[in-house]
Symmetry: C2
Subunit: 399 residues, 2 copies
């Protein structure tokens, strides 16, 4: 007797783990922690410009932006800019803040055919000189954009073919601009290695990621929205990066052509206590909530010990360090949600604000995304759904 099936069913955790180990041999992001960064660090020493302009969209900029936002207070005095939208007023506004005579342009496009990036590159080529002295290119090694770079003698870094855009932050895509602004990229990779080792050797992260992935998948029809509630403004970029990673990787047709979807939402505490929190507390029970806290902000600024007329009732917060206040706010919100009992909720606490800890968080989320993709039996790494719009656009423009 034989039995074959093509229907979707949640596999065992062990089977998922074996599948992940199999894809590790051909999905490129798993190898990035172990890359040699010598060439990047050598190149960085030659960069003299003050304004570093990343020209890229989606996976070509979001990860870099996330790490930059988190660590900007530790960066050197170079200024990082991002050009991505085709909104003409946005282009004007952003370019007006760049000293074009003291700028390095980093053109990033995996395929080399991103229309937003090419059109802004053309605009830059018109308003200033763009040549090998102020422009480098990060792309696949056989793209049209690579031909452009070779022809112009521009320095190139490559995105491996098997590394997708939204999984590329720890490739040259992120490492080159981040190293230039003073981020310790080896420490970023150390964070990734720590998670990689822990997960694949079934240590701490294995249980955490597998259990979380399984819970989300098992309850996906009830809780179709996954909220990340980050208690630090510095995680604003991380939230955006998460939204792309989660939305674009997991919003797919599965093997039975059933539409899967895990809707990511990123909010910030305490600001969004005054916005989205009410919906979480009293709204429909369709959300899981993951809190992210920073254990130590390494900043001792405290609320001063002064009494303001009329506001004396607030003297109880005097002498309280802000870093404690924000964490108490987080804990109070967590407790309020936990008291409701019917909102699935977990808490990730980052030890401190540095490369190592943010990389652990991001690499862990990449692994979690891969695990969930395996659970729901989709291709986590493509994005076929956006092609239709691109084809229609080309038809419109080429008439």
């Amino acid at each position: 007797m034989q039995y074959t099936k093509n229907f979707y069913q949640i596999k065992s955790t062990e089977e998922i783990f074996e599948n992940i180990k199999l894809e590790k041999t051909h999905i490129g992001y798993y190898s990035l922690p172990y890359q040699d960064t010598t060439e990047i660090k050598e190149f960085v020493k030659t960069v003299e410009q003050k304004h570093i302009v990343v020209l890229g969209i989606g996976g070509s900029s979001l990860g870099t932006y996330a790490i930059h936002k988190f660590l900007q207070h530790k960066e050197n005095d170079k200024k990082l800019h991002f050009l991505e939208s085709t909104d003409p007023l946005d282009i004007h506004c952003k370019i007006s803040k760049i000293d074009l005579n003291d700028a390095l342009f980093i053109i990033i496009s995996k395929s080399g055919t991103t229309i937003e990036t090419i059109s802004i590159l053309k605009h830059l080529s018109f308003v200033t000189t763009v040549d090998k002295n102020n422009c480098i290119v990060i792309t696949e090694d056989d793209s049209k954009l690579n031909d452009f770079a070779v022809h112009n003698g521009m320095k190139r870094f490559f995105i491996p073919k098997n590394v997708g855009g939204r999984f590329s932050v720890f490739s040259a895509v992120g490492l080159v601009p981040l190293a230039i602004i003073g981020i310790d990229i080896d420490n970023l990779l150390n964070g990734c290695k720590e998670v990689d080792d822990s997960f694949f050797n079934k240590k701490e992260f294995y249980d955490e990621i597998m259990q979380k992935g399984r819970f989300i998948v098992e309850n996906k029809n009830r809780f179709n929205i996954n909220v990340i509630f980050s208690y630090s403004s510095l995680l604003e970029g991380f939230n955006k990066w998460y939204i792309q990673l989660w939305g674009e990787s997991l919003g797919k047709l599965n093997i039975n052509m059933t539409k899967q979807g895990f809707t990511p939402i990123g909010i910030l505490g305490p600001v969004d206590q005054h916005s989205f929190l009410q919906l979480i507390m009293e709204g429909k029970r369709d959300k899981t909530v993951t809190f992210i806290k920073v254990e130590d902000f390494e900043d001792d600024i405290a609320i001063p010990d002064i009494s303001l007329f009329g506001l004396e009732e607030f003297d109880y917060i005097n002498k309280l360090p802000f870093k404690q206040l924000i964490n108490e706010q987080a804990d109070a919100t967590i407790e309020a949600i936990e008291n409701l009992k019917d909102i699935p909720c977990d808490v990730i606490t980052i030890d401190r604000i540095d490369e190592y800890n943010l990389a652990k968080l991001m690499y862990g989320y990449q692994l979690l995304t891969s695990v969930i993709g395996k659970f729901v039996q989709i291709n986590t790494y493509d994005q076929p759904g956006v092609e239709a719009g691109k084809i229609i656009l080309k038809e419109k423009l080429q008439g």
Copy 2:
């Protein structure tokens, strides 16, 4: 025979309209378009500082931020800052960009007891002098913060008691800071008046708002997520404002204690074509999508007529104005979604980027929110769900 009921049922459009007309007599935001702005404009003439610092969170800042982001290229040379989070690194970073000796602080809190605002006010009082020469207050006329302002002889503007924070952008909360940075506040109010007149006299906006509200409510169990997809980076602030308005107003228990929830998501085109769009296209059908386009960006910057080696295939976009490119991108995405047939989608087109048109959009969304609140029989204007966390926090801190 008598028949009474307490169960939830979708009422007729006409009944909803009558209910809205009834609440118009006691809900304050409906009256704001007709306020006298003389006092604000007179005050603005006296402001000499270059740095305008809004100290407020949630409804005290989001609306102002939305209008500022949309019109920043038309503002005068004053610089607007927002202090809201208790994140110590965020506070440092933002204050470092303010010339404290040339700053006007605008303390905004409806209740006057917002812990984030009070703690940052204390910090400011410690690092600089905060007095009637550089500080004004916007609050309810009997709040503790009002006492503080009176005691210090500070200029005060008032938030009417019956205007909720997230509906307060067209009160002094928004108008005072916006007028200072050169926004035409009368033209903002003209936009509101236009929508108010149209809706309440059952002209154009009446059908639009009523039909949309009814659709969203009738399909709320199937489509529990409402995405706004704005095709201009300038609408980033509007998206955030919408998220608060929608989430905090409509995430409530209804008259049968059933948890209602309409989850707002705000994304930007074309950037999020490279992020969230895949999820919309192939993910679970749990979303409605509202596109917002700008008819005329009033900017003629075009892609230059140059050919880049290797990238000659893109010469077809040469001479195309960016404002046309972004709108063609919007139209292509809309067409791709419409072709799928099973994603409810509508398109709002703003004529141009000015006070009048943004106010129409925002006031229209306030009305839509009120209408949906009536349909689902909730209190649109309170936020009881966030109180639990506040009480826990106070206990922790006073512990």
